[in-house]
Symmetry: none
Subunit: 129 residues, 4 copies
């Protein structure tokens, strides 16, 4: 099943970031596995009616982040996941994002356990280890 992108041009989030997020989500969700290839820049650009440079930028940044690897002549391949740093460091890296969740949850009057459960359910859904 090919990965299909969908963008909201009006969301305020740059298109290249929307693309990056969707690749990351596909990888995290198991729809893309190690070794799979992303659709080509041209393909995606045509499908989304968007400038190829925009897609290219997204792919380059994903490569920089170690999510995918360029294989010359073939395209972008999903890289092996590698945990970097100690457990403690990796937890620390997640903290700012969790703080944002906490703030948003507060504003929405959603309780801690409630949100934690939503999150766990979301992650279990796509767990495959």
């Amino acid at each position: 099943m090919a990965l299909r992108f969908h963008i909201l041009p009006t969301s305020g989030v740059p298109i290249y970031r929307q693309v990056m997020e969707q690749v990351r989500a596909a990888v995290a969700g198991g729809h893309l596995r190690e070794g799979d290839f992303l659709p080509s820049v041209r393909e995606v650009a045509a499908e989304l009616a968007v400038n190829p440079m925009t897609i290219s930028k997204a792919y380059s940044l994903l490569e920089r982040d170690g999510v995918v690897q360029m294989v010359r002549g073939q395209g972008m391949r999903v890289a092996a996941r590698r945990a970097v740093g100690t457990l403690r460091q990796r937890r620390e890296a997640l903290r700012p994002l969790l703080a944002q969740v906490a703030a948003a949850a507060y504003q929405l009057s959603l309780s801690g356990p409630e949100v934690a459960q939503m999150l766990e359910a979301l992650m279990k859904e796509t767990d495959r280890e």
Copy 2:
């Protein structure tokens, strides 16, 4: 205990957004309660060595979002929290952020229950109801 801001000018995130996030976090974390006043625009601007307009923009947007209210001649006061929409709608509003957490957690090789527990701990720590 006065609220103290800290910004990372290199993070790419606009200063006014960093300020907004910190106010939101302080409110969600109970360090600022309903009725408390934010430090004045000039004060913060001086402390951060930043243009007052930048802080003013952050405060205005927080006011539009209902987080604080302007009291003429006195300053910006933390507003009462009001949940808007049905439970379902509010949960839905949180979903995109949770998806981001899930993707980041995967990249960091952190498990669902592990992350859910971190989040719950973070939110319990600052729970006041």
Copy 3:
């Protein structure tokens, strides 16, 4: 029945304007009639816990607009209403405000007849001629 003011310090509308509006509304609604006196500046300032200068400013502007007249040693008295200009001019003067209503109604998906009826009902309620 004495006129009682109520202000929302957080509404964004300057206090002196809120006071002015309430005097105008009281006059339009028949709660204050020609010759009646407004409560004194001090009285109102004390009641609202507000700087007397603020009330004084409101009263001065109302006097400038011909809504009230200062009677030395007694206070501010409601003036006789006098229509200024031709009917056409007076209608024209109301137009910008009506345009604002039209725009707001559109945004709220309220129909013309619906809004017109609301307005007429509101005005009939306080009509006394």
Copy 4:
């Protein structure tokens, strides 16, 4: 027919608010329809001999209010109208403005039916549903 702005620098109303009002009026009046683009910030700024930031502020606030949407690299596009809240809530939201109309009408010696008719005529003129 391009939207043309006109501002009264002496009116006391901030320029950015005058611009906002005119956009809203143009949308409500059908001169701008869903999907149409506003003139660019630079264009308007040049036309009005005003700082681009002033126009930018107006546009940003209109975006926050859901009147227009930013399309990256293209400009500001008129958004679909979406009524929010119950009928009752929306009527309630209009009330303060109607009260202002009632007070102004009284001051101008214009009767309820007279004003209601003016308003309805104004709204019918631009009705398109």
